[in-house]
Amino acid sequence: MMEVSLLEIIGRIIGAIIIAFIGIVVGLFYKGLDRKLAAKMQARLGPPLRQPFLDFFKLMIKENIVPENAVPWIFNGVPVLTLVSALTILFYLPVGSIPPLLSGYGDVILIIYLLTLPAIGMVIGGFASGSPYANVGAQREMVMMMSYELPLVTTVISIGWKLSQVYPQINVFSLEVINNHPIWGLVGPLGFVGAIFLLLTLAVVTPGELSKIPFDVPEAETELAGGLLVEYSGRNLALFSLADATKTIVMASLTIVLFFPYNISPLFHLSGFLAIALDTLFFLVKLFLVIFIEVTFIRVAVARFKIDQVSFAYWVPISLMGLLGLVLIFLDHII
Amino acid sequence: MNYLKSEEIMELFQNRLGKQAIIDSRIETKIAGIKKNTYQVIWIGVKPNFFKEAVKILVELHYPHFAIISGIDIDKEIELVYHFSIYYGEKGKEISINIFTFLSKDNLNIPTITDLIPGAQTSERETKEMFGVNFEGLPSLPNLFLPYDFPSGVYPLRKDEKGVGVKVSEGDEVKKGE
């Protein structure tokens, strides 16, 4: 049995609150950056960087309307569930050289489950709101979820499997461990190519997971007028926007942890507080780059797909790409 | 394709429908541009009971492009003008054909042409709503342009007591040409 002291529990709780707060603030800030950059790419001015914060505060003071034919407790509970599950993932993510707040034996597996929770929550919320638009949105979200899960899991499992082969004695599904052992150093040329395939797979899964163009079919403004979220307003919508911001951070961090866990401090032979600060800063820069490429750039450059096209894209080419990556890494190992 | 001249089209109508069916007919020639090219517009007035036959002749001649039905309230009658055009597809060959007919307000019935030209449905429904003309054979469908709960027996574009008068809003005097 592990010894758990009261102090440690209190420390964890305080840490959780701080991380949740920072996660949300950073998430909203990056959302602002994303909007600003997208606007610049579209040759317009765009909103100020603090716009997501303003939106959030505005939504908080707005009336919270529950439709007549909705199920109130589900309808109101889902935004909380979504936000909480997104925030929980944050506790398992290592930031730069800071180890994660919580870590156990199957972090990655847990994260994959937690990632599906917001989606399931939104599906339930959509069905509970009793609007035809939300209904269609919820159906589409379910189809999407079933489509992108396989490539996502393939990516994570491949890396875990490779780690387990190299270091049989350690807990390979802990993000901290993955963070400390970058995949690129462990594989040969064949595996390197495989890892690139896996990276691409994850890069395509990310906009789907975040419901961003071209995979924003569940919300599809011009078709479903917001789809899943069409009936949500006020506080509930504010919570969804926070959850969305947090999820963006989470997905981008996952890419970083799995593929770019490098820190900058060893380069300068730093240690102690300065190293942590620099690594955190470097992490934020990486986060920005990943979000820029995976979210902002893609959403500016393409049109929205249809649900059958999304489903096909994930099931056939993207899944194949992921599996190919897995096979290459496997071949690399046995050769 | 063998194109008939406007005069020949007119003759065809006269031969097929008979002299007594045609109320009025004329061919207008319009000039355009520096080169003074011309195009022609045909006006044919037929009696209501020959109207469907006239459209059939047109469909046999060349499937016409149907534009719209214009309705005019003239005292005891309602005039309907069907605007068609045929022979499109080649430069300067198109001829506009306007077939008009007068319906007495006691008997506002005219056969539908939607079986020949399905695209006329919108216009027939509009004319039905605005003038109260009954199109025989047109399925009874809800109001297209007027609200669903619009009072029955009121036809906005009629100028008689079944219309809505000239007053547009309260306190608005009937003014001419301000």
């Binding site: 924003d216 500016v300 249809k306 | 520096i34 007053k167």
Partner: protein
């Protein structure tokens, strides 16, 4: 409604519609089984209003039927009145009319391209193409004084001349569009995601287009060779070689899908540029209006008797106006028909069997102008009672209707 399908209302207010109109879709899964159209949300009673105005005043009313077709409606209306009265329009005025109408076509088609991109969720293209549209709007403002609602048409001619220094400015704009046209074509016709969303979507066969009397780019994209400028050349078009553009020109075959409609519209931008250039090169000298003094013109109208139709190929298709004058200041009847009116029925075969995701782009693909189509309405009144309903009555009716619908 059967148990298997469910119904989705689109409109009167919906992000994919720029103007109010209601559609009721019956959906099976993601597939559209049935469509019910319910226009009429945008009725303003324009033809009714026209009854109380003389033809010169109606020009400005016709201009305001729709903000985008604000050259097309007065063009057709003026032609109708001229035909009814037998006025001959001076040659130069005919050319100026054609130039303004073609400039309008350029701005309308680029506007449509942006809207279509937005419907596909491709907002970047929306912003870029609308930026490109500003140039022609600036030019129109320079030539006529207004970005839209140009106010340049007059019965018997136009109200403003095009001078030689203005011609240089027009040429500058044409050069600008020649320069960026390549980019536009590249974005719309070569982008894989746009192709994915528009090919084999919203198909209208040629037979359907003919039978349902489709007009404009919608008809031409289905392979129907029909363009008033070609078929019955009027004004300056009679001197020019205008060819109706069908998708064969670009791809060699006709599919009648949304992609073909994009092709037709883009190629028409080029065609418009060429037409304007030809008009400028052959611009004749002379008067710009048949009767300059409005009082005299009005007196002529008062004496005139006759009927006439005016047809013009607007960006969205054929516009036709019918006017009957009866020796009075007010016309006996004025009927305006906008292209969307005829393109209403073709929507149904286009939509059936498509997915929900296709609704916005298919609806947008005919470039609907609901304001043009819905023109006639009146204020509500109870039968037998000539007064307009009071606010309380309306409130009562509204409450009753809500109750009725809730049942």
């Amino acid at each position: 409604m059967s148990n298997k399908t469910y119904s989705i209302p689109i409109g009167p207010v919906h992000p994919s519609l720029k103007e109010p109109m209601t559609f009721h879709f019956e959906i099976y899964g993601e597939r559209i089984e049935k469509v019910h159209l319910a226009p009429g949300d945008n009725h303003r009673g324009i033809e009714f209003m026209g009854r109380q105005r003389n033809p010169i005043q109606i020009i400005y009313l016709a201009e305001r039927i729709c903000g985008i077709c604000s050259a097309s409606h007065p063009f057709a209306f003026c032609q109708a009145v001229e035909n009814a009265m037998g006025i001959e329009v001076p040659e130069k005025a005919q050319y100026i009319r054609a130039i303004i109408a073609e400039l309008e076509r350029i701005h309308s088609h680029i506007l449509w391209a942006g809207v279509a991109a937005h419907e596909l969720g491709f907002d970047s293209v929306l912003f870029l193409s609308w930026r490109a549209r500003e140039e022609v709007l600036d030019l129109l403002e320079y030539l006529t004084g207004n970005r839209i609602n140009y106010g340049i048409f007059m019965i018997g001619g136009v109200r403003r001349d095009i001078t030689s220094e203005q011609i240089t400015r027009i040429k500058k704009t044409l050069d600008y569009y020649k320069e960026i046209y390549g980019k536009l074509e590249d974005i719309f016709l070569n982008d894989p995601t746009i192709a994915l969303r528009t090919k084999k979507v919203g198909i209208l066969s040629k037979e359907e287009a003919i039978q349902l009397s489709a007009v404009g780019p919608t008809a031409r994209a289905s392979g129907l060779n029909k363009d008033v400028r070609q078929d019955q050349p009027y004004a300056a078009y009679a001197d020019l070689e205008v060819q109706a553009i069908t998708p064969e020109v670009y791809s060699g075959k006709v599919n009648g899908d949304v992609y073909d409609r994009i092709v037709v519209r883009l190629l028409e931008i080029v065609q418009s540029i060429q037409i304007i250039e030809q008009c400028l090169a052959n611009l004749p000298e002379g008067e710009i209006v048949a009767e300059e003094k409005l009082v005299k013109l009005l007196n002529l109208i008062k004496k005139a008797q006759g009927e006439g139709i005016g047809r013009h190929e607007a960006p969205r298709g054929e516009v036709i106006h019918y006017v009957k004058l009866n020796q009075s200041e007010l016309p006996e009847v004025w009927k305006a028909r906008a292209p969307t009116y005829n393109n209403l029925m073709p929507w149904i075969p286009m939509l059936i069997g498509q997915q929900i995701a296709d609704i916005p782009i298919v609806l947008a693909s005919i470039d609907p102008c609901i304001a043009c189509m819905d023109r006639v309405t009146i204020l509500d009144r109870k039968s037998g009672q000539k007064n307009i309903l009071t606010k309380d009555d309306l409130h009562k009716l509204s409450v009753e209707k809500t109750r009725r619908m809730a049942q």
